[in-house]
């Protein structure tokens, strides 16, 4: 951040903001990846088994759920919201895909059907946010409770059935010596990053998140990108639920709980503004891998899992404070 100031000062005033923004985002993303790599190497000192290629493979597998969920969460945060229904949507994705598995004809009908159901529920969140003026965190929290309760009632407390074969293959299989999930994560990250940062749709998300009124005046039907963000978030969570089911070969009613807060943490430490309109998916991927690595190291150190939660909270507050500092620097350079 100190690096951006002198260089930004050399630019014309109208340009400093944009250049300052891109720089600080790239820097924070790079910093997260460097930090993650250092952490992976440093973990060798904790236990010699850590830091090996197998370990990296395991971390990516464990982080894959979070990466998928963090994409959706990041989109919602980008348009100025917050999605607290994610835990329940993960559970719903997992429960539906196992319960309906076998009774739904082909898997290739089952998987899209579950994703569409999840997306529709996400769109309902957006209806509350856009037209009923309900604060995003409240409508998504209420929706989360409703969905969790429906899943509980539907399964009578014990989800049954096995994972769809496609997800077993995704989570357990390997292609050409590399684990399938590693390739999936790479492809997913590339597609998701392109959608968010290199398409007209993505630019609309940024515009709506940065200033909804200005975006409306500029001719964007603001409800569309907002609804798309919530629908995609719910669909991503549902997909992550199916991945988890493939990984553990079965659903549980609390399987989504441990992904809600880390999903927000990944996005925030990835350099996105919690107020919306700023951030990139590359940062969120870094955040997700960093948090997962941290979790593995904490487990290897024999520390209680509670500490992991404490550290996560502290990281969120720390990242918020750093981003805020960043804001002040930018304001100064504009002046």
């Amino acid at each position: 951040m100190t690096g951006t100031r002198p260089s930004a000062a050399l630019q014309a005033p109208a340009d400093t903001r944009r250049i300052g923004r891109i720089r600080s985002e790239t820097i924070s993303t790079a910093a997260i990846f460097v930090l993650t790599i250092i952490l992976i190497f440093a973990s060798r000192f904790v236990s010699p088994a850590l830091g090996s290629w197998d370990q990296v493979d395991t971390i990516i597998t464990l982080a894959s759920f979070l990466i998928v969920v963090a994409f959706g969460q990041g989109l919602v945060i980008l348009v100025g919201g917050l999605d607290l229904s994610i835990a329940s949507m993960i559970t719903l994705g997992g429960v539906l895909s196992t319960t309906w598995n076998g009774s739904f004809g082909s898997e290739w009908a089952l998987i899209p059907a579950v994703l569409v159901i999840c997306a529709c529920i996400g769109a309902l969140n957006a209806v509350g946010v856009i037209w009923l003026n309900i604060p995003p965190f409240i409508i998504t929290m209420a929706m989360g409770i409703i969905v969790a309760s429906a899943a509980l009632g539907y399964t009578s407390g014990t989800p049954r059935g096995a994972a769809p074969d496609a997800f077993l293959a995704l989570m357990k299989g390997s292609i050409g010596g590399l684990s399938a999930v590693l390739i999936f994560v790479l492809v997913f990250a590339l597609l998701a990053w392109t959608l968010q940062s290199a398409t007209a749709f993505g630019r609309r998300l940024y515009a709506v998140g940065a200033n909804r009124e200005a975006a409306r005046i500029a001719g964007i039907a603001t409800w569309r990108p907002i609804m798309a963000a919530y629908a995609l978030s719910a669909a991503c969570a549902g997909f992550a639920g199916m991945m988890l089911v493939g990984y553990a070969n079965g659903a549980t009613l609390r399987m989504g709980d441990s992904y809600l807060l880390p999903s927000i943490a990944s996005v925030v430490i990835g350099g996105s503004s919690i107020l919306g309109g700023r951030g990139s998916f590359a940062g969120s991927v870094g955040g997700a891998i960093l948090l997962t690595t941290l979790g593995t190291v904490i487990a290897a150190l024999g520390m209680q899992q509670g500490w992991r939660t404490v550290i996560e909270g502290a990281i969120i507050v720390g990242a918020l404070l750093l981003l805020r500092e960043d804001l002040i620097v930018k304001l100064r350079s504009v002046r």
Binding site: M141, A142, S149, A150, V310, V317
Partner: protein, 336 residues
């Protein structure tokens, strides 16, 4: 917003029946109080034990923790903020009570002090993060909530432990044979609020919530008002955790999780404007009592406990839509 506030003050002493009626109907607390009475009548119809002293005590003990937490949340919401740390504070005070049970009235007093200290400390942190370092309240309190929940897990990694007998027996008991102690504690908080409402600090809270710039220009310290709201809220969450421990008599590191949604539902149901500057702690308390009563009504109405979440979620959304309708009604009423 501030215009509405003044209008409400001016019309307050109106003796005209129509004015009084409009006040009750446009005051969130009035509407939710009517709703409570209707629900209670329904409950009493299904379950005659509701009218006995033990039935009332039961309701009061059930509602007290959420009512106290909602009372705290209303302070922050009135000053235009959201405080998610409630579930962290409640979990943390609950596990502390169950891990270090202190017997007797003296022990209970020390436990109460510990709970208040935990809540107050987290309130101070929230206040500093939001008011002085100017972080968005949802994000900052999300961080402190996660840290609180994490610390609760560090202290107790699985449900267990026992709360001191004195606390769990006495605080759920009645005095004079009919008056539940938990209800008295909630009433004491309401009495404090009625006094606090008359102070400049509280008027500052409303002013900051209605229009921060205007409040700051008229010489109110915005930072001080915000910190006051968060610290007051934290203390009340601590008290809520104390009362929850008395009620459950055991410890659970995730005891506070359900409080997060329910407090916001109670605040919205109680007619506190989620955009700040309007509402009352009393409304939030009645809102909380209504939500807990609704659970009982659903249960006695034969709805499977699996599905209570669906009703709570729907009621919460309806409460917010309803609340904003009332506010719109009130503002057109004030203009007319």
């Amino acid at each position: 917003m501030s215009a509405n506030l003044n209008a409400a003050r001016v019309t307050a002493p109106g003796s005209n029946l129509a004015v009084v009626m409009r006040r009750v109907l446009t005051d969130g607390a009035g509407v939710v109080a009517i709703l409570y009475v209707v629900l209670f009548a329904l409950y009493a119809l299904w379950d005659r034990s509701a009218l006995t002293a033990s039935g009332v005590t039961n309701l009061s003990n059930n509602a007290a923790p959420l009512a106290l937490a909602a009372a705290g949340e209303s302070l922050v919401v009135i000053s235009k903020g959201f405080d998610l740390s409630v579930s962290g504070v409640v979990s943390l005070s609950n596990v502390l009570m169950a891990t270090y049970p202190l017997e007797g009235p003296g022990g209970a007093l020390v436990s109460l002090m510990i709970c208040l200290a935990v809540g107050g400390a987290i309130g101070v942190i929230n206040g500093v993060l939001v008011a002085i370092l100017r972080l968005q309240s949802i994000a900052a309190t999300l961080g402190t909530m996660i840290m609180g929940q994490g610390l609760a897990l560090v202290i107790m990694d699985a449900p267990g432990g026992t709360v001191a007998d004195w606390v769990s027996y006495t605080l759920t008991d009645v005095i004079f044979g009919v008056i539940p102690i938990s209800g008295l504690i909630v009433l004491a908080v309401i009495a404090l609020w009625l006094v606090f409402r008359r102070t400049d600090t509280c008027i500052g809270l409303f002013a900051v919530g209605a229009d921060e710039t205007a409040a700051s220009l008229s010489g109110i310290s915005v930072a001080r008002a915000r910190v006051t709201a968060f610290v007051g809220a934290g203390l009340l969450y601590g008290l809520a955790g104390f009362m929850l421990s008395a009620q459950t008599a055991t410890g659970n590191p995730t005891a506070g999780t359900p409080f997060l949604m329910l407090t916001f539902a109670a605040v919205a149901l109680g007619g506190v404007s989620l955009t700040g500057g309007r509402g009352s702690l009393v409304g939030a308390v009645i809102g909380a009592a209504t939500l807990m009563l609704l659970q009982k009504v659903l249960f006695s109405g034969g709805v499977s406990s699996f599905y209570t979440g669906i009703f709570q979620g729907v009621v919460m959304v309806l409460a917010i839509i309803f609340g904003s309708l009332i506010l719109r009604l009130a503002s057109t009423g004030a203009r007319a």
